[in-house]
């Protein structure tokens, strides 16, 4: 694989994960558990949308960020499986957020040192926002895990449900290996260690139990997603796909 194709794939992995998660969070807008939290969730969604836009613009390859976002199909999307999982209840959304925020946090902390100057520069900016996201979602994992019996049960269920998608966060393919070797990409093994330590500690503090089963779902790097992604994209892409030459 050529280096620039590998970089393209690498950037799509990052961009798609942010875009799909942003889209999921945007579904909450107007439906949050309290007004203040509605506003907070939208802020996170907007940040992630900004990340996706910056990454897709940089990825380019002769295509606009919009073309990449709206005209690629399910099998071409490279987002992490976790991002496309349905919102479920607020516990499920917040747990998904916490797991992803933690991943983003260590990932972009590492990418700040990328030899690709553009990627390094945008990672510095992203990391500030992600630090806040993580603070926000960590707070909620603690509140729900250690709140009432009901909230504990709900977020423990969410953890049981979502845990098998966390292995996918650290899967790598030849593009990742090429990027790592070139000093552009992050070392996912290293990030897995940091992520696992941090996540375990906080979940423990929140009185939550990591499921014993260590079976992990895979496939997003090869475009093998869960069924949920198709519906998400159908909704998201319908206007640009229906009116192919329209400007909006």
């Amino acid at each position: 694989m050529e280096t620039d194709q590998a970089l393209f794939n690498y950037l799509l992995r990052l961009a798609d994960s942010s875009l799909i998660l942003s889209q999921r969070l945007a579904e909450w807008c107007g439906h949050g558990p309290i007004l203040e939290e509605d506003i907070a969730l939208t802020n996170v969604s907007l940040d992630l949308l900004g990340h996706a836009t910056a990454l897709l613009t940089y990825a380019g390859k002769g295509k606009s960020a919009d073309d990449l976002a709206f005209l690629r199909s399910e099998r071409e999307y490279r987002n992490i499986l976790l991002a496309e999982q349905p919102n479920g209840d607020f516990a499920c959304t917040m747990l998904r957020q916490f797991l992803t925020d933690s991943w983003h946090y260590y990932l972009y902390a590492s990418l700040q040192k990328s030899k690709d100057e553009t990627l390094a520069a945008i990672s510095v900016k992203f990391l500030k926002e992600i630090t806040y996201h993580l603070r926000h979602s960590s707070g909620w994992v603690l509140r729900l895990g250690d709140g009432t019996a009901e909230s504990h049960l709900r977020i423990q269920n969410a953890l049981d449900e979502l845990w098998s998608f966390t292995g996918d966060l650290f899967d790598s393919d030849s593009a990742d290996e090429l990027m790592l070797a070139a000093g552009i990409g992050a070392d996912l093994n290293e990030i897995r260690k940091q992520w696992t330590a941090h996540v375990s500690e906080l979940l423990n503090k929140a009185t939550l139990k990591i499921p014993e089963s260590s079976f992990m779902q895979k496939g997003s790097l090869q475009g093998r997603h869960t069924e949920y992604l198709g519906y998400l994209l159908a909704e998201m892409q319908y206007l640009p796909r229906t009116y192919r030459d329209a400007k909006w």
């Binding site: 203040e36 939208t42 907007l46 607020f90 516990a91 998201m236 206007l239 640009p240 329209a246 909006w248």
Partner: protein, 316 residues
Amino acid sequence: MQKDEKVLLEEFQSKIDKGVKIEPKDWMPLKYRNQLIRMMSQHAHSEIVGMLPEGNWITRAPSLRRKAILLAKVQDEAGHGMYLYSAAETLGIDRTTLLEQLHSGKAKYSSIFNYPTLTWADIGAIGWLVDGAAIMNQTALAKGSYGPYSRAMVRICKEESFHNRQGYEIMCSLAFGSQEQKQMAQDALNRWWWPAIMMLGPSDDNSPNTEELMRWRVKMESNDAIRERFIDRTVPQADYIGLSIPDPELKIDEATGHYKHGPINWEEFFNVIKGNGPCNKSRLKTRVDADRNGKWVREAAEAYAAKRVIRDDTDF
């Protein structure tokens, strides 16, 4: 020390006449207090319910830029609802009670949000027409006599200034776009024009209490005056993008220089207010569901906060 009501009322009126704001702890007539609570909470409810028709298109916005703009705009509306509930809370009514009034159907909100957003052009039309009409009203309310309401309105007006523009920008893109897009824009204008005209409220001869409310600077301008200004400003904007206003009788009155509109279907307006608009039921149900689904979350956060007090645990 107790002054009699007549003296208090005179002092109150003279403050208002001098442009001094009334603050939460100041004496105020009961009718003034109640009217303000009613207005501020209706206004707040309108912001919150108003998130829904536009929220309907966030996940389907046709470009990354449009998605970001729409998200930020609907988020602002949540913020505005929050500011307004807070302003109402200064008069001693809490948000739980205000929300109960909304959810039970006792409180009203703006009729316009009971219309559906059927196409993407509706998002343009709402920003252009609905926010355009709302801004007319809100800039006036920012000069009102009650301090917390007026301060909230100043902040809201400042934030809203982009809402109107982004709507018109969407309409421009559509009106100057493909034939299909232009039709979409005209169709949206056809459906939103009259509801926007009506949302500014019943005509003056049908609007009780106006005189006293204007004297107290609770209401700043008559509905018809605001409506006239809105039409005067909006018609040239429609002309510029080549869309036609769905009112065959609309024309400039040579004597006054203002536009005169055709008859308004007030029956429809009152019907929607009564609960028979196309979306009244679904809007309310969405709000009630969000509130119910959030109850266990709010309880959990409180329980956790209480535990931390017991543990004397102050860092997160």
